[in-house]
Symmetry: C2
Subunit: 115 residues, 2 copies
């Protein structure tokens, strides 16, 4: 079935992973929605917040909705603002940091593991 919602209808869960700070995640589309191949998540990083600095064996596809941040990676650092997008290949160290006062809000698409 087709699913349609507003993102605010999906719970914002605190990201408790070690190294994360002031960050929530909303799983907009995942296996529970019926998706089999990739999941759509919305992150909100508050002032002074950041995601963990880490790497993993899957890619990220990112699109910035609001706010200002920096993407720190082993390939260099990239400022991020509304309308920016980024592709982060598997196994590349990366971290998202809010550099402003507003909430830094971005979409991040990841593969769904089918194993």
């Amino acid at each position: 079935m087709v699913v349609k919602k507003h993102y605010t209808e999906v719970n914002a869960d605190k990201v408790n992973m070690a190294g994360a700070s002031n960050t929530t995640i909303r799983w907009l589309i995942n296996e529970k929605t019926g998706a089999k191949n990739y999941a759509l998540r919305l992150f909100e990083v508050s002032e002074n917040g950041h995601t963990p600095e880490h790497s993993h064996n899957w890619e990220h596809e990112v699109f910035v909705l609001d706010g200002n941040g920096i993407l720190v990676t082993e390939d260099g650092d990239f400022t991020l603002k509304k309308g920016d997008f980024s592709y982060i290949p598997p196994m590349v160290m990366h971290q998202f940091q809010n550099t402003g006062k507003e909430v830094f809000k971005f979409l991040c698409i990841v593969p769904i593991k089918n194993d």
Copy 2:
């Protein structure tokens, strides 16, 4: 390598598919970026425009950035505004129509076919 751009740095190509009207597509992330599993595209549908009414054997994951539209499907019709998202399963007939005066702008993620 990590890729970071603003969406306006990517060409907006007219969607010439039969049944499409006043619609452009920007392929933000795809095989050329290094992605192997799913592609991120940005559609802009101008006033009175629409995408084709069609179905196909792959899913859509959609997030609305701006404007107002309607998603017409065989599962029913859904109004779409900024912050709405939708999952459209494979083989479901669907069409996006702009119902406003502003550009109706949305992200649409599709699988990359690896065959």
